[in-house]
Symmetry: C2
DNA sequence: TAAGAATTGTGAATCGTTTCACAACATTCT
DNA sequence: AGAATGTTGTGAAACGATTCACAATTCTTA
């Protein structure tokens, strides 16, 4: 059964990212192999969970020994699709937006911000870390003529849906939305929401109710 | 049974934040009441889910009519603990950190950044939006003598655990961690991780495997 | 005041995810 | 070589979250 035929849960994909980072660290520490037990201990998961997650994609380990660190890291990179470079566009050069242009972590993981858009005349044409800010009015055509496959939306809530409509019209299938609203997009477009205010609200709830996360 | 006795799932709390934002919007649109059906339609959920989530905390609706918008908004604010102001400290005035100091969304939701720490001598003493950057070496005592209850960690991965240790030592029970590592903290400290690289990896997976989120 | 329509609140059923438990296999030791 | 140890991969069991389905209740209209 091909991977694409199966339903892999969001949690499993999320944990693959966690395993990937753990393996990067283990490689630095010169581990050759790692057991599901030790990997689980480090990331506060269960060994069974680790094995089950990986088993969705194949048999990467050796019984009695564990998983080969470097090889597994490569396999996970392949599964996540991060064994290549992705060209990314950023819309909105406000506080958060500008910070992201310089954010090293993205480049390090192969996500390269290649285009930046804004609607502010004072910003259009200006240079952000070597990238000229484009006029958002041209976003559809500029994205169409580009190699961009992922767009980060970092505009105020009130404008986010309009931007998303343009982005979808330009044929983009993956959006990282930083605005605190629920974007309406067609079924074949994936949206991930990153909302720090919501995370703070979770902390607020926990402090108020003395409840720890499950 | 008191709320604090029950196990409320992470998903339910997350959705309360979503309902809260929807209700803010509905209030603007002058809705007096809202049915679970309509609320669900707007946020792409099911009516049963909405009702079940709310029912964990009480009976806020009226059969035949729906939920009173303003009142429900107030109830949810109370449940989430956002019917008050929370004092927040930020550690790390890099790209992302500086952006957060000016981030309006936090203040709007009652999360006030009152202290900022860094380890860079050139930054210590400088003024960020009216807040003087403190030396991270004094973080334990400064936090202890403050009204801060939530700390945002926006330092490089390599320093995040050290910062977290200090923050915990200062008696803080809630951390928003922006560094892409798994912080080790005692059981009575809640940590939420915000990791944009991981969200991009999810998009990468989806694009690579033609899988939409469940 | 009675009938009809709308909608909640919730126990039960369903569905999905996590954990358990163990056969299968690799390695190490004697 | 045989025994002991360690660890994977996975079907089955347990657990948890979501959805269903309907009694209870309110509102509206005649």
């Amino acid at each position: 059964m091909a991977i694409s035929d199966r339903r892999i849960s969001e949690s499993t994909i999320h944990r693959l990212s966690i395993y990937y980072r753990a393996l990067q660290q283990l490689e630095k520490e010169n581990y050759e192999t790692i057991s599901s037990k030790e990997l689980a201990r480090r990331e506060k998961l269960t060994p069974a969970q680790v094995r089950k997650d990986l088993s969705f994609f194949g048999s990467f380990g050796t019984r009695g020994l564990g998983y080969p660190v470097v090889e597994l890291k490569g396999k996970i990179a392949g599964i996540l699709g991060i064994d290549r470079v992705w060209d990314v566009a950023l819309v909105g050069v406000g506080n958060i937006g500008s910070a992201l242009v310089s954010y090293k972590e993205f480049q390090k993981q192969g996500f390269l911000i290649k285009m930046v858009f804004d609607n502010d005349q004072r910003k259009i044409g200006s240079n952000h870390k070597g990238i000229i800010v484009s006029d958002i009015r041209n976003i559809v055509s500029e994205l169409r003529n580009s190699s961009i496959e992922i767009v980060i939306i970092a505009v105020p809530s009130s404008m986010a849906q309009l931007v998303a409509d343009d982005v979808v019209q330009a044929g983009i299938k993956a959006i990282l939305n930083l605005a605190p609203i629920n974007l309406k997009v067609p079924d074949d477009v994936v949206v991930r929401n990153e909302n720090m205010a919501m995370e703070l609200e979770y902390l607020s709830f926990s402090l108020s109710n003395h409840q720890r996360p499950k």
